[in-house]
């Protein structure tokens, strides 16, 4: 993608976040999509490209009354939406369509018509992981962490510090689910879920949705919103089985996606004003900071502990409070993108003063997939 050739011209979350008992999964997609269309000042007849995960593009296009010329149903977990942005950029740049809508909606808490793909007992994960008693992300995403901690001498206190710092950001955000300050002791005294992970090191489970509208930058002036330009994008996948990761201390998918996005954007780490790293669990910002190249191996926990990513620090990270404190419907990537857009528009509740460049990094599955989007508000 040519840097700045594509712009995000519409962005919105669902009207409510948290517990939404009056909307099913598709209803959350639609609520977010309608809010994003209103934000961009357009209607369904103006949209000719649809990308989504959780639901199929067929379902979303039909439900919203859209006749697409391009669809993308890439569904690789929570970073699917970063990858949709990347694919949409390629489609828009090559003229396959003119205006793309990307939607997410998930009834993570209320569970109303939520689609949860089952693992087949004959799949490799069904044969070689499931029999040993994992139950979802808290027992799988966390499997590599003891190896990381032993390799680099990281303590449970340092892991807990990630949650504490993110709660500081959440305190500044009226829409955050949890806003009350917490201490390292609070985290370490919270209920054990899967050692070494305690409740406050794990993400929330909430209802919500979000949607984005993209077009080519030459058309961005026709929209009422402040355009947010795509500077670089990256994607990759590694393995559907966390036990088969090449390196338990680093995600190959993170490294590949991140390096590609930085290369495409032609930026250095010093250029980054704002950073989002998908935090389903407390170790993810640590892996992300290292695999994206912001920190050397083994140094990210100390970097967070020294308050570099906290309010007032030099690298504001997860400024909405993250999946740990803001919200987490199941596929959180859309909310990370929304916060990057808000920061680039200058309207975030915890706005980073003068921020011009945001890196938004997502994970899918349990280190299975990754997508990185770099945005700027400078034309």
């Amino acid at each position: 993608m040519k840097p700045k050739s594509i712009a995000i011209v519409g962005a919105a979350e669902t009207t409510e976040l948290g517990r939404i008992p009056n909307l099913s999964q598709i209803g959350l997609h639609a609520d977010a999509a309608l809010n994003a269309m209103k934000d961009a000042g357009i209607g369904p007849k103006d949209i000719d490209g649809v990308a989504t995960a959780g639901e199929t593009p067929v379902t979303i296009a039909h439900y919203l009354g859209i006749t697409p010329k391009w669809v993308d149903g890439t569904a690789v977990g929570g970073c699917s939406f970063m990858i949709h942005v990347r694919h949409a950029a390629a489609a828009l740049e090559s003229g396959l369509c003119k205006t793309v809508l990307i939607t997410h909606g998930e009834s993570g808490r209320s569970g109303i018509a939520r689609s949860r793909p089952a693992v087949s007992p004959g799949s490799l994960a069904g044969q070689f992981e499931l029999p040993y008693g994992p139950m979802g992300p808290p027992t799988l995403f966390t499997i590599p962490v003891l190896r990381y901690m032993k390799t680099y001498g990281i303590t449970e206190e340092e892991l807990a510090t990630v949650s504490v710092v993110q709660r500081e950001w959440a305190a500044k955000n009226p829409r955050a689910t949890f806003k009350d300050p917490i201490t390292v002791e609070d985290v370490l005294n919270s209920r054990m879920i899967a050692y070494p992970f305690r409740l406050l090191m794990c993400c929330l489970v909430t209802d919500g949705g979000g949607a984005l509208i993209l077009t080519t930058s030459d058309r961005a002036k026709d929209f009422p919103t402040k355009p947010v330009y795509l500077l670089g994008t990256g994607e990759s996948v590694e393995t559907p089985m966390v036990s088969q990761m090449e390196d338990f201390t680093s995600s190959r998918a993170f490294r590949v996606a991140g390096a590609k996005a930085f290369d495409e954007a032609g930026i250095t780490h010093r250029d980054v004003d704002h950073l989002m790293i998908y935090d389903a669990f407390a170790h993810l910002p640590i892996y992300g900071l290292e695999d994206l190249g912001f920190c050397k191996k083994g140094e990210a926990a100390a970097f967070i502990g020294e308050r570099n990513t906290a309010p007032g620090g030099r690298l504001p990270l997860n400024t909405n409070g993250g999946g740990l404190s803001y919200m987490h419907s199941g596929m959180y990537g859309m909310y990370a993108l929304q916060e990057s857009v808000r920061q680039m528009r200058g309207v975030a509740p915890a706005q980073v003063p003068g921020a011009k460049l945001s890196v938004c990094h997502g994970v899918g599955g349990m280190f299975a997939a990754s997508g990185t989007i770099i945005m700027t508000n400078e034309a």
Partner: protein
């Protein structure tokens, strides 16, 4: 006794040799005849060089505790807290497993401790490769 039964693997044509092996008390891995690399999980070609010329062989059944979590919530077939572990086999590949004959505590479960395979029969067709602290 824990309630319910753990998830039962369903062997496929490409993995049958592995499950026939555990039933016979053998941990079977595959090695590429071309590049000589050992790999897991099973497939009828080499994931390193794509050669279809591969062999099944009996592994030593020895390895070391590579990483784990101790799950504190109930799952059918398990009594919490129980460890979900990854063992690194002496031949190189890693596999998920459970640890038996050992307290399921952070103090007892030290990373890099030597382990050996302990087969546990689930039913007439399926025997699971679990691991226990190596003797001696």
């Amino acid at each position: 006794m824990p309630e319910g039964q753990r998830a039962r693997p369903q062997p496929t044509p490409e993995t049958m040799h592995f499950w026939e092996g555990t039933k016979a008390g053998e941990l079977r891995l595959q090695r590429c005849n071309s590049c000589r690399k050992v790999y897991f999980p099973p497939r009828p070609f080499c994931p390193h060089c794509a050669s279809r010329e591969v062999s099944v062989f009996r592994a030593s059944g020895k390895g070391r505790l590579y990483s784990y979590v101790i799950h504190h919530r109930p799952v059918p077939g398990f009594t919490p807290p129980y460890a979900i572990a990854v063992v690194e086999l002496d031949e190189g590949p890693r596999m998920m497993t459970n640890i038996v004959d050992c307290p399921e505590t952070p103090e007892a479960l030290q990373l890099d401790m030597p382990l050996e395979v302990a087969f546990e029969k689930m039913d007439d067709e399926i025997t699971l490769p679990l691991f226990r602290p190596a003797k001696g």
